[in-house]
């Protein structure tokens, strides 16, 4: 029976653990940040002298920590794109616009352990010469924003924020900004547009990479809530130590949200790659409802390609001698890490696992997802704007028993014509991957629903 490996969630949900500063400090809170602030310049074996912030950045690079928002980009690499020596301010934005259906991890941290996030922001900001940080929190998280504001007040009162933090000459302000109530506000360049007060139309990359031309056209780091919390633990443990957790290429722990047709849906922090989908579903989430069998798993948020029960995947493993071997794995034997999920043709995404049992209709499930994406397409790019609504309308018509045989081909064609560089941001992929995969894997159900009446 697999167990959680709680690092970020170590104290959460424990009796008596409260979100206030006093409780956080009693549990060792802000000690890592204080140590970071006190770091003296240190010499490397190569004879270089590294400042405190440089040492933190090095540790994060060494850790191999990947972003937890969905794209999984290595955090240290992202930071390295920022030109720290330009004459422009550097901004840090904590992306707390948690909106991917099936994902409910960041809000746990914000509600139950806000100071952990603030400490992560403090460390990341100090490491990157940031003096103004923002927490862009999803518009619907009204209570979360209040909690963060309260926590920031406490931190300010304790000298952990503002001017000359802890008397060490470092200044940082953190501002909580409530989002504009749209999924696309979580796309990092859409978020920046929104933070600047405009419609959250994602920006064209190139040239508007946040690290180069981000908020107010200044270098900007955008990191997810969980990522910033992980940064705190990287700083506490050291990069090499952190990298021992998880699997090579995808180190550390991550919080996985399991929902759908399971008995105990919830969020679970696991060591990456050390639990299979089956263990997550059965050991941690209580398994399927009695008498039900597994139909499919959406393994990384609603935009991830669906995996059908009974599918077999070819996984590559590196043997200790460095040689690669291939092994076949069934759906529930897939280790939960990015390489395994990629080999299965899907992704870990935001760490949200949605389970469908045999009582679910693939057509209904896809129609539900398509409705969401049709509602959330920002409308900037033609293919996504028109295609997402078109797919939604076809699926709704099929549900009304007015499907036509051509609908299946049309869905496939539309979903093929949206992604792959045809849109500014990855929403094009997000709205079409579910359609592509559901239609490909459950074509029988779609054809049955769209067959002409006998």
């Amino acid at each position: 029976m697999i167990q959680e490996r709680r690092i970020i969630l170590e104290h959460l949900d424990r009796a008596g653990y409260t979100p206030d500063l006093g409780c956080y400090r009693r549990h060792g809170g802000y000690a890592t940040f204080e140590r970071c602030l006190a770091l003296e310049p240190a010499a490397t074996p190569e004879g270089q002298t590294l400042s405190g912030p440089e040492q933190i950045r090095l540790e994060v690079r060494r850790s191999g920590l990947r972003g937890r928002g969905g794209a999984g980009f290595p955090c240290g690499v992202k930071w390295s794109f920022v030109n720290l020596d330009s004459d422009r301010p550097i901004y840090l934005i904590c992306n707390a616009d948690e909106s991917e259906p099936g994902t409910f991890k960041d809000r746990q941290i914000i509600h139950k352990d806000p100071h952990q996030l603030i400490e992560g922001i403090l460390i990341a900001a100090y490491a990157n010469r940031v003096h103004q940080a923002f927490i862009y929190i999803r518009g619907e998280f009204i209570e979360g924003a209040r909690i963060l504001d309260r926590a920031l007040d406490e931190a300010r009162g304790a000298g952990l924020l503002g001017r000359d933090i802890l008397g060490r000459g470092y200044d940082l302000e953190i501002c909580v900004h409530r989002g504009a109530g749209a999924y696309i506000c979580g796309e990092e360049t859409g978020l920046i547009e929104s933070l600047e007060g405009r419609r959250p139309y994602p920006r064209i990359k190139p040239p508007y990479y946040p690290a180069v031309l981000g908020l107010y056209q200044c270098p900007t780091i955008v990191n997810n809530v969980e990522t910033l919390c992980a940064v705190k633990h990287v700083a506490a443990m050291g990069g090499n130590e952190y990298a021992k957790l998880g699997v090579p290429g995808d180190p550390g722990t991550r919080i996985v949200c399991v929902s759908g047709q399971v008995r105990r849906p919830g969020y679970f922090e696991i060591e990456i790659g050390k639990a299979t989908l089956g263990q997550l579903i059965h050991d941690l989430a209580g398994g399927l409802h009695p008498g039900r069998s597994l139909k499919a798993v959406i393994p990384g948020g609603s935009s991830a390609k669906v995996l059908r029960a009974g599918e077999k995947y070819k996984l590559k493993f590196a043997r200790p001698d460095g040689k690669e071997i291939e092994r076949e794995a069934a759906l529930l034997d897939l280790p939960y890490d990015s390489a395994s999920l990629a080999a299965a043709g899907s992704m870990c995404g935001s760490g949200a696992i949605v389970v469908l049992d045999d009582s679910a209709s693939a057509v209904e499930a896809l129609a539900n997802i398509a409705e969401f994406y049709a509602h959330e397409s920002c409308g900037q790019c033609t293919p996504c704007r028109e295609g997402s609504l078109w797919m939604h309308k076809i699926l709704q018509r099929i549900l009304r028993r007015q499907g036509r045989p051509a609908d299946v081909d049309n869905l496939e064609r539309i979903a093929h014509n949206i992604p792959g560089g045809r849109t500014v941001c990855a929403f094009g992929e997000a709205c079409s991957w579910p359609v592509q995969s559901f239609v490909a894997k459950f074509g029988d159900e779609f054809r049955q629903m769209t067959a002409p009446p006998p």
């Binding site: 020596d85 749209a182 419609r199 139309y201 064209i204 190139p206 040239p207 049709a374 509602h375 959330e376 397409s377 920002c378 409308g379 900037q380 790019c381 033609t382 293919p383 704007r385 028109e386 295609g387 997402s388 609504l389 078109w390 309308k393 076809i394 018509r397 036509r404 051509a406 049309n410 064609r413 014509n417 792959g420 560089g421 045809r422 849109t423 500014v424």
Partner: protein, 566 residues
């Protein structure tokens, strides 16, 4: 702590790119459309330089890039690099190209050395077809009643990339129709393809952040700022910019199918800027004035006031008959020949120094040239009427006359224009001036009142519309509007530009140069060319300011006056 970067070797000014197999050198940077600062040359710009057309809706060379329509998707490849970062070669020695997996938008993607751009591959064609199918999915198919039909980019590309049969089988999205955006603009939100050209134009070019999108996804709709109509002096440019029939001109909509309009190149006569424009006319009626691109003058914009300044040309009360003095101070109709003979005789008999001539700075250079010769023969005191207004930072010049510069260079207008008007008025009152010739102005509104006019022995007036001065004229010579004749204006910044006739003047009215030529010949004994081109060339030979210019050499875009005439 930071060390200054080592001085980098200067990059070459051009970059070699290959477009559909053809190599071309293009500038590394091109001026940003709004700031003018050097910006990396894009694939779209490189294709334009290579003469390769890439279809697009949201891209516009004079606007900041938006990159939203996705019609300009192209495929490309870059030189493949080995592990040592050195370019790899094919067996035949040509550089090895690594094709990018995904298409990119040409409008926003910068070029790089050695890049190959493919605009005609099956993948590109499929991408364009897909975008077009998406654009048409919710677009109303109301082309038969749409003003844009005939000049609609959606129609245009549907011909090239469209399907005959729609695969869209759902209910279309409904949005507001007949949205009154402002005093001159009507919006049909269902036709809008959300390219945002109009938003970018009014925000980034005009500086009036008046338009924006509301709602989301396919329900997104263009609108104006709540409670504030879209009403600056440049709103009608959004009608030109709109690639479809979403934004229409209230002045033009439903009046004429565009394919029936004859198009005549012309120059806006409404101020000293001299915006290049096209007159759209059919069967002797003008339907619209639209800007004609000229980067030296107006880019591709025009102000609303200038665009709408044409309805007077078709007015029913246009002066259309020649009048000569009748019995007992009355006026009677006449033919041109008799009138000009009689007038030449009267003028020839006028004592030298007793004549004044006021000619509008809205007349063409050629007309003012002939008037200058007449004035010289009569030793007449001359001037023009100043017409001052407020200028702006975009196009509108504070001088509302189109040819003040020409009138001054040809010796008609004083400096400043109108400076001699009080002296002329005084001389009339004192009886020293007994003959006044007025071309294209109502002098009673500019300091020479009816009292003064009544003191004159001879008042000659030429105009296109009746006014108090023409009402008192002994000789009335009906002239032509700018749209009814050929000629040139000299803009306030000294650019000489040609305009051509689009319609005929009414009745007996004639282009001024035609009758002035006869009058000037009668008074000077010289012969003058009977067409604008010959008159212009003669003027350019005689007046140093125009020396070296020729009518043919002016071309469609005009020529700046020589800075230091010989």
């Amino acid at each position: 702590m930071s060390t200054p970067p080592p001085s980098e070797p200067a990059l070459p000014a051009t970059v070699a790119v290959t477009i559909d197999g053809r190599r071309i050198d293009v500038p590394r940077t091109m001026p940003h459309p709004v700031t003018g600062a050097p910006a990396p040359t894009t694939m779209m710009q490189a294709c334009e330089l290579a003469g390769v057309r890439v279809p697009h809706y949201c891209y516009h060379p004079k606007l900041p890039v938006a990159g939203n329509c996705r019609m300009c998707l192209v495929e490309y490849g870059t030189p493949a690099l080995g592990p040592d970062r050195k370019p790899l070669s094919n067996p035949d020695g040509t550089p090895k190209i690594r094709k990018a997996p995904n298409p990119v938008i040409a409008c926003a993607t910068p070029i790089s050395p050695g890049i190959e751009i493919y605009t005609q591959t099956p993948g590109v064609k499929a991408a364009r077809e897909a975008v077009l199918e998406f654009l048409l999915a919710n677009h109303p198919l109301d082309c038969p009643i749409c003003d844009q039909a005939g000049e609609c980019q959606l129609q245009q590309y549907a011909l090239e990339y469209g399907h005959a049969q729609s695969r869209f089988d759902e209910a279309k999205v409904h949005k507001p129709k007949q949205v009154d955006l402002g005093p001159r603009i009507m919006l049909d939100d269902e036709r809008c393809i959300l390219c945002s050209r109009c938003i970018r134009f009014t925000r980034d070019i005009v500086g009036d952040d008046a338009l924006g999108f509301v709602r989301r996804g396919s329900h997104t709709a263009l609108t104006h700022y709540p409670g504030r109509p879209f009403d600056n002096n440049y709103t009608l440019n959004t009608v030109d910019l709109c690639p479809v029939g979403a934004l229409t001109s209230k002045d033009f909509r439903f009046r004429m199918r565009v394919w029936f309009l004859g198009e005549t190149p012309s120059i806006c006569p409404s101020c000293g800027t001299g915006c290049n424009m096209v007159i759209g006319a059919r069967e002797n009626v003008i339907y619209r004035l639209t800007p004609r691109s000229n980067d030296a003058v107006n880019q591709c914009w025009m102000c609303d006031a200038g665009r709408l300044n044409y309805s007077w040309i078709g007015r029913a009360d246009r002066l259309a008959e020649v009048q000569v003095p009748g019995p007992a101070g009355s006026a009677r109709k006449s033919g041109w020949k008799a009138a000009l003979e009689a007038l030449a005789a009267r003028l020839g008999a006028a004592p030298r120094g007793s004549v004044a001539l006021i000619a509008s700075a809205r007349l063409a250079n050629e007309e003012l040239f002939l008037l200058a010769r007449i004035a010289r023969a009569l030793e007449a005191l001359t001037d023009s009427i100043p017409r001052a207004g407020e200028g702006d930072r975009l196009l509108v010049h504070p001088d509302r006359n189109p040819n003040t510069r020409g009138a001054q260079l040809l010796g008609i207008a004083a400096d400043p224009p109108g400076a001699r008007l009080p002296a002329i008025a005084g001389a009339i009152r004192e009886g020293r001036i007994l003959t006044l010739l007025v071309f294209g102005e109502d002098v009673t509104r500019h300091g020479i009142g009816l009292d003064e006019l009544d003191r004159l022995d001879l008042l000659v007036a030429s105009d296109v519309l009746p006014n108090a001065t023409t009402g008192r004229a002994h000789f009335l010579l009906p002239g032509a509007a700018f749209a009814e004749k050929s000629g040139t204006f000299t803009s306030a910044r000294g650019r000489v530009q040609r305009f051509a006739p689009a319609v005929q003047p009414p009745g007996s009215a004639r282009a001024e140069r035609e009758f002035l030529r006869e009058l000037a010949s009668a008074l000077t004994g010289e012969a003058f060319p009977d067409h604008a081109s010959g008159l212009f060339d003669q003027m350019a030979r005689e007046f140093a300011a125009f020396r070296g210019l020729t009518w043919a050499g002016l071309g469609a875009q005009g020529v700046a006056l020589p800075a230091n005439p010989p």
